[in-house]
């Protein structure tokens, strides 16, 4: 069967073909919005027109079967119009308010999860994990599923002091926004990689491999046409593995995950912040990582109990001080918490005023 004629460099189709008439009419002229429930909101335009939105959870990995089911509902209740959010939720764009009730009814019957709007947990931004990545040191999708099952009420109904953005990255490459999330999990290695010298000689470019190391732990071994690693200097980032796969960073029995907290992206009230280390390590415990799930819940609930209204996790911690954060959460403070890398000197305390 002949294929249609290919085109190149056309870019994506223009967005205006995919927006409902009410958006076309009121584009850039929205006046305000109201959060109606944990998963529904209404936007009101200056013209008085309204657009209702129903936000639904997605595991991000979607089969075409599920996408078709979502599309069928969009056709029944939204004249076919829908969108996805930057956190991978599905949004039904309902122009006719009377369609809200039947849409919500069908979503409930089919066990879709409606939520993620307002001062709550939205979907977890995450990476491919064992599902599809060569570099994964844990499985992101499984951990996300286990965490979201546990904090489910905070997605659908229960409120928090402010929104809480969760992320999971399956290695330190952090293809998700782990480095600026309220609470996030990042998979880490803890052992110096193992070198398959014979293969390094065959497949790796030695200068690139040496240059890939941020701590200059890798030295060339020209005689053997391979490299050596200074074990004292290696901090297990795995960047060498990325450029030279025979340097195997994976150690399934020693790999695991760390939990970082207090990051944010918006400039509201305080500047955007990086996430900082809360818990340096948990072993991988598939399929449901119970210790990680419990640790996330502990941090979340300590925040919910102690933060002021509108404070994000990082703002709450900065107000009370990190020493109080460790005390309130009961998390042990270790040598791993004290920075000894790029930005270390900015993190040491330079004041005689602190708490116990």
């Amino acid at each position: 069967m002949a294929l249609p004629k290919r085109q190149t460099d056309i870019g994506p189709p223009k967005y205006d073909q995919f927006i409902p008439p009410v958006i076309k009419k009121n584009y850039g002229k929205w006046k305000y919005h109201e959060v109606l429930t944990g998963g529904t909101m209404v936007h009101v335009a200056e013209s008085g027109d309204t657009l209702h939105t129903v936000r639904v959870a997605s595991p991000r990995i979607l089969s075409t079967e599920t996408i078709r089911d979502i599309c069928d509902m969009a056709e029944r209740y939204c004249e076919g119009y829908l969108r996805f959010t930057t956190r991978n939720n599905v949004e039904f764009l309902v122009s006719d308010k009377s369609k809200m009730e039947p849409l919500l009814k069908e979503l409930k019957e089919k066990k879709y999860s409606v939520g993620g709007i307002g001062p709550r947990i939205s979907n977890i931004v995450h990476t491919q994990g064992w599902v599809h990545c060569h570099s994964a040191c844990t499985d992101a999708s499984g951990m996300v599923k286990a965490i979201m099952d546990d904090v489910y009420d905070y997605f659908t109904t229960k409120e928090l002091p402010n929104k809480v953005r969760l992320a999971v990255a399956c290695c330190v490459n952090m293809c998700g926004a782990v480095h600026c999330s309220d609470i996030a999990v990042v998979a880490v290695h803890r052992k110096v990689p193992t070198i398959n010298h014979e293969l390094v000689t065959k497949v790796c470019e030695i200068p690139t491999t040496v240059a890939s190391c941020p701590t200059s732990a890798i030295r060339p071994n020209p005689k053997e046409k391979t490299v050596t690693i200074n074990e004292e200097k290696c901090m297990y980032c795995g960047n060498c593995f990325t450029v030279c796969p025979p340097i195997d960073i994976h150690k399934p029995d020693e790999d695991g995950v760390a939990i970082v907290v207090g990051g944010k992206i918006g400039s509201l009230r305080t500047s955007p912040k990086f996430s900082k280390l809360a818990i340096p390590f948990f072993y991988n415990e598939p399929p449901r990582w119970p210790k990680v799930v419990a640790a996330v819940r502990n941090i979340l609930e300590t925040y919910a109990k102690n933060a002021k209204k509108h404070e994000r996790v990082g703002e709450w911690i900065e107000r009370i001080g990190w020493e109080s954060f460790f005390k309130l959460t009961g998390i042990e403070f270790t040598f791993q918490h004290i920075d000894d890398f790029t930005f270390a000197r900015d993190t040491f305390r330079t004041s005689a005023a602190f708490k116990y």
Binding site: K31, H33, S63, V172, V178
Partner: protein, 393 residues
């Protein structure tokens, strides 16, 4: 063809209320032996706690250097269906708006040539099709491109630009994020499809400082909408918030980072002191609107931690007008990329190059003067360079 594997560990992840990715893979596996083998290999990963994917090989479509990421199972004999399991990145629409008709078309083609599994969406923003073979790539590209859909970016190239919902459905958006993203994507088609940069370059556009697309943390160039002029106040709506129980003193006035507000039945803002953080506007959206002169702040440099630490983007151009056809913005981006391309070592992001070369070098190359808005504070050390041009002043 499906159900070849027993998956007791993954089955545990079909329990509980949150939607299950395992259920999605099983749905795809009913039709696709590739998805079934994906399930089998994943169960093995859950048993052994390690992945079985090889590094991506170089695969793609004729005339492009990106858009497809090669992926091969390291256990092709055990799981032959995923011996090839490549990713195809389809450039998403601005703001992720779709019609059911378009998405169903995308699904039909994908079921014909791939595993039936997708990511809606990938971290950079692309609509990700997960799992196909090398010999299907040209057909996939012909089918999609003939229907108006192109591939996204990968490798050392301009990556698929992405944005928040913007004026499509948000009262806070100061700029037309959807149109800016569409226009820039079209402008940089060559850079996007044919990797010729030192490393990746990402552009994200957010309508305001709430930054729902994480532009400030995840883009080499972060375009964030802002304004000049006074915040517009509707005192009647302020009163309604108070009547509805909002503690305006505690929740708004005392949480303002610049202490530029006061309230005694009437809300007052000293706009000269306002830093445009968005807190009050976001919490009292019916009562407050941003000032009338709209534009964007351009920030540069953010990235994830590989390899010497994460960066947030730095303010480079405090205020720039961004109205169609965006000539000034396009010129500025070309100057930024040109300097980076000339200066960077391989695999160096623009933020890292600015750190290595000094901010002055970058600012002078793109013709932007030094301004206090670019720094949190001036330098602390007494070691500063002087250039010949400084003596002429």
């Amino acid at each position: 063809m499906s159900g070849k594997y027993k998956t007791p560990l993954l089955d545990e992840l079909e329990k509980g209320p949150w939607p299950s990715f395992v259920t999605e893979i099983k749905k795809a596996a009913k039709k696709s032996p590739m998805a079934d083998d994906e399930l089998g290999q994943l169960e093995k990963s859950y048993r052994t706690k390690r992945g079985y994917w090889k590094h991506g090989g170089i695969v793609g479509v004729l005339g492009y250097g990106g858009g497809v990421i090669g992926r091969y199972s390291s256990l092709p004999e055990e799981f032959p269906g995923i011996a090839h399991f490549h990713t195809v990145r389809i450039n998403q629409t601005s703001g992720f708006f779709y019609t059911a008709e378009a998405l169903k078309m995308i699904c039909d083609i994908w079921d014909k040539y791939g595993s039936g599994l997708t990511n809606m969406h990938g971290s950079t923003g692309d609509l990700v099709l997960l799992g196909t073979t090398t010999e299907n790539l040209e057909a996939i590209f012909a089918e999609y491109s003939s229907r108006g859909w192109d591939l996204g970016g990968s490798g050392s190239a301009m990556r698929t630009p992405s944005c928040c919902v913007g004026p499509g459905r948000c009262e806070w958006s100061n700029i037309d994020t959807l149109d800016i993203t569409y226009t820039l994507t079209q402008e940089f088609q060559d850079e996007l499809h044919r990797p010729a940069f030192p490393y990746k370059f990402k552009i994200k556009t957010a309508g305001c400082a709430v930054d729902c697309v994480a532009a400030i943390a995840r883009a080499d160039l972060s375009i964030i909408g802002t304004w000049k002029g006074n915040i517009q106040i509707d005192q009647a709506e302020v009163k309604k918030y108070a009547d509805a129980g909002m503690n305006i003193q505690a929740e708004i006035v005392e949480m303002c980072p610049t202490n530029c507000m006061s309230y005694n039945g009437t809300l007052k803002i000293n706009d000269a002191e306002c830093s445009r953080c968005m807190h009050c506007i976001a919490k009292m959206t019916k009562a407050l609107r941003s000032g009338k002169e709209k534009g964007a702040t351009l920030l540069v440099g953010s990235k994830a931690p590989i390899v010497v630490g994460s960066l947030l983007s730095w303010v480079i151009v405090p205020f720039i007008k961004v109205d169609a056809p965006y000539t000034e913005l396009k010129d500025m981006i070309r100057k930024m990329i040109g300097w980076w391309d000339d200066t960077a070592k391989p695999r160096e992001r623009i933020g890292e190059v600015i750190e290595a070369e000094g901010m002055r070098s970058f600012l002078e190359a793109i013709g932007v003067p030094a301004q206090p808005q670019q720094v949190k504070e001036p330098r602390k050390d007494p070691f500063f360079f002087w250039e010949e041009s400084d003596f002429q002043k």
